[in-house]
């Protein structure tokens, strides 16, 4: 029995060493080769999740690159943006999507549940520090172990195929849903009882939002929070009072462009919280004009943008 236990322990230690090497060596190699380069003329970036991914079509906006990705919590946005800023010194402004669902507890799931870990961890584990990994491991240990396995194989694949690019071209802003889908969503939303105000907050998401803001400031970048257009029937607005309170208490020093009530009719929406291709084109063309206006990106651009939004009619575009 002792002999069996001794050999089992020895084999387990050997396996642990091999597993650690399988994880660490590729990460170490890739950290020096990772490519987060954006087009050379990029002065502004947009980071966030699917709301900004769908709303901002950077092909209509000069000098702006949209690096938002669906399902991305601030934990991963922070890691990505840190690398982007390192490799793209031309960036002057960082637009950060800050909307209602990003303060909600569901963002904890986006950070460490199995489904999101399987997708995000393999991509960004290379850039995580010990504290970041500990956060994941302490909240979902089995997911953490499983994701390290996925991460290891993806990293080895990247090395073998010499694929060091980490920036995906934004695709979701090409969504063009069935217009009747939106009609049925609106009907459903009207019928539904108002959801209870969700008083919960995702502390981890807000912590990493804060880290992201501090990082940008430290790098001398201008930080502007944005909220992409939302349909008035969007159920996620149920925590609006908490959202506004939080923004005023914690982020009052930051400029804030609130496009949530941007004047767009139903034909511009894919669903109640995402614009479709037409909506993205409308908003982006308008935003391009704003950014080219010398009044914008001055120190008090918030009022300017608000007033321009009020002047906007869809006919203009």
């Amino acid at each position: 029995m002792r002999h069996f236990l001794k050999l089992t322990l020895l084999f387990s230690l050997l396996l642990l060493v091999v597993a650690a090497l399988l994880v660490e060596v590729p990460e170490h190699y890739l950290s020096g080769k990772a490519d987060f380069k954006l087009p050379a003329n990029t002065k502004h970036i947009v980071v966030g999740h699917s709301h900004s991914e769908c709303a901002i079509d950077d092909s209509f906006i000069e000098d702006l690159t949209n690096v938002s990705e669906s399902g991305e919590a601030y934990f991963y946005t922070y890691l990505k943006t840190r690398e982007i800023l390192k490799q793209n010194p031309s960036i002057e402004t960082v637009f950060i999507e800050f909307t209602n669902n990003q303060i909600a507890p569901i963002m904890d799931d986006w950070t460490w549940d199995d489904e999101h870990l399987n997708h995000w961890y393999p991509k960004y584990s290379t850039f995580m520090g010990v504290k970041d990994k500990f956060l994941i491991a302490s909240n979902n240990f089995s997911g953490y172990v499983s994701s390290n396995s996925l991460s290891s194989s993806e990293n080895i694949k990247r090395i073998l195929t010499k694929n060091h690019e980490y920036i995906n071209p934004v695709r979701a802003n090409k969504l063009w849903g069935d217009p009747h889908l939106l009609d049925s969503l609106i009907i459903d939303a009207t019928k539904k009882k108002k959801t209870k105000k969700n008083a919960g907050l995702s502390n981890v998401n807000l912590t990493y939002l804060n880290k992201l803001i501090q990082l940008c400031k430290k790098e001398g970048k201008r930080v502007i929070l944005i909220r992409s257009p939302l349909h008035e029937k969007y159920q996620g607005l149920s925590n609006e009072s908490i959202y506004q309170k939080l923004r005023k208490n914690r982020f009052s020093d930051l400029e804030y462009y609130d496009f949530s009530k941007f004047p767009l009719d139903n034909s511009n929406f894919y669903d109640l919280e995402h614009l479709n291709e037409k909506g993205a084109r409308t908003l982006s063309k308008w935003f391009d004009e704003i950014l080219n206006d010398t009044n914008a990106l001055q120190s008090d651009s918030e009022e300017f943008v608000k007033s321009e939004m009020l002047k906007f009619t869809e006919v203009d575009n």
């Binding site: 084999f11 396996l15 091999v18 399988l22 396995s149 194989s153």
Partner: protein, 487 residues
């Protein structure tokens, strides 16, 4: 808790240490620890399941005690049928109630009679199909006087709830497993090492083969209308390896784990995809279930004795019941019936026991004839698996009709979920080929890796184990639940 989970990785060593260092003092303590660990293992899914397994244990224990003292034939039959009725009744309620209600309503609606009935919104307790059959085998064997009923309630509870095989088999016969609880187990080094080896191979089959095949099989089956005939064939083949890797992998882990605790369970899969005919396939696939049906349903019905129509009737009954055991859906029934159709010609022509020995025994490669027979048998089983996997009959029929189209001979491809690009899943095909190669080399043993014990140098053996572990780490598919947990 799943076998391939952190929970089990923590649970198993703790139970192992307690079993061999604390409970090793005496037999009762060993068995009691098995019961406690098994109830913890089972309750991990849902504590309410424990009520069912405890009830099943109590009923069959007391039925056994009753049969021990009862000589009157009628009363013995009453006791037996009490056990059968309650065990199958529980199974019927949890597993088949909604199926019967829905079909009852559909049947009446054909005659223009609209009925309303409430379906039950209940969870199917994990493993119920397995342990009810296990306890039934005890009652039946005691009734037939093939087995002495036990007085030892702890040993009997341990037999019913034994955690390695509780939720997905092998379905153990009381005559094999129960006596192992009557004697104190002593640690056997080579048995334990062989057990670890079998666990490793089971994990490889489940994590590398089954979970990776599942990813692509699911994409193809869930979007079958979008794919070419050749891709649908690929989907069916991948499902064949998914279900084999999943189920036989679980059995390997169950048998290997049992060996760590000094128990020997029966082999449940004997390299079925190397079968040369369907009869051989059914002697090698899910052996514990097929022998259960043979001994407790087929033979009492008359088996292969009697005229042709009796043989045909019994064969269809056995395969359809076997299909129905798997789930409350017409697809499982059709799957069973199809296997009956495959089997009958062999039975009626007395060719069902032609291929008994291991294929190409002592040789490296099969003969051309054997290879052809293997491929033919494999094709027939893959075709039948389409019904097993399909969501319903409409899905199965549309899958098959789309398969046999002009695109049957085009290059298969899958739409990669994240990019939408067309890809050929080369990695999984290479893994499956590697897997088939290892299984072929080890086909004479209890499991593919059992022959490794013949390698003298520990360094060689460990390098093989490490290679498999590295493959498990690198080719870790997205975790899928064991298919047979749903039965």
């Amino acid at each position: 808790m799943l076998f391939n989970s952190i929970d089990f990785a923590v649970f198993l060593p703790i139970v192992f240490i307690l079993y061999w260092f604390v409970a090793n003092k005496n037999l009762s303590l060993q068995n009691a620890l098995i019961v406690a660990a098994s109830y913890l293992f089972y309750g991990w899914w849902d504590w309410r399941f424990l009520i069912l397994i405890l009830s099943s244990t109590l009923i069959d224990y007391f039925v056994g005690r009753g049969l021990a003292t009862q000589e009157d034939k009628f009363r013995r039959k009453v006791l037996l049928w009490t056990s059968i009725f309650i065990n199958l009744g529980v199974l019927a309620v949890f597993k088949y109630f909604n199926f019967f209600i829905d079909n009852f309503i559909s049947a009446f609606s054909l005659f223009g009679v609209e009925m309303k009935a409430n379906s039950l919104n209940i969870i199917l307790p994990v493993g119920i199909s397995f342990y009810t059959f296990q306890t039934l085998s005890y009652s039946i064997d005691v009734y037939r006087r093939k087995l002495k009923p036990t007085k030892d309630f702890i040993a009997f509870s341990a037999f019913v709830s034994f955690f390695p095989q509780l939720v997905a088999g092998p379905i153990e016969r009381a005559s094999n497993l129960l006596p192992q609880f009557y004697a104190k187990r002593n640690f056997d080094y080579s048995r334990a090492v062989d057990g670890m080896r079998q666990i490793l191979w089971g994990l490889f089959k489940k994590i590398v083969i089954a979970d990776n095949c599942a990813e692509y099989a699911n994409i193809i089956f869930n979007n079958s209308a979008d794919y070419s005939g050749s891709t649908l064939v690929l989907g069916a083949v991948l499902f064949a390896f998914q279900i084999y890797g999943d189920f036989s992998g679980y059995s390997d882990i169950a048998i290997g784990t049992s060996r760590l605790f000094g128990f020997d369970l029966k082999q449940n899969f004997n390299f079925p995809y190397f079968s040369r005919d369907i009869a051989e396939f059914w002697r090698r696939w899910h052996i514990s279930l097929s022998t259960w049906f043979r001994d407790y349903v087929y033979i009492p019905l008359g088996g292969s004795r009697g005229g042709i129509w009796m043989k045909v009737r019994n064969t269809f009954i056995i395969f359809i019941i076997s299909g129905f055991w798997h789930g409350a859906n017409w697809t499982f029934i059709v799957w069973g019936a199809l296997n009956a159709v495959y089997f009958l010609p062999l039975l009626l022509s007395n060719n069902n026991r032609v291929n008994i020995d291991t294929v190409a025994k002592g040789k490296y490669l099969p003969s051309i004839k054997d290879l052809g027979l293997i491929l033919l048998t494999f094709s027939l089983t893959v075709f039948a698996w389409i019904f097993f996997r399909a969501d319903n009959m409409e899905h199965a029929i549309s899958y098959i009709s789309s398969m046999y189209s002009s695109t049957l001979f085009s290059l298969p491809y899958i739409f990669e979920p994240q990019t939408g690009l067309q890809i050929i899943p080369k990695t999984i095909l290479v893994l499956v080929a590697f897997f088939v190669f290892i299984e072929w080399i080890g086909r004479d043993g209890q499991f593919a890796l059992s022959g490794i014990v013949n390698l003298k140098k520990r360094a060689f053996r460990w390098s093989i184990y490490l290679t498999l572990c590295v493959m498990i780490i690198l080719f870790h598919g997205k975790q899928q639940e064991f298919i047979y947990f749903q039965f």
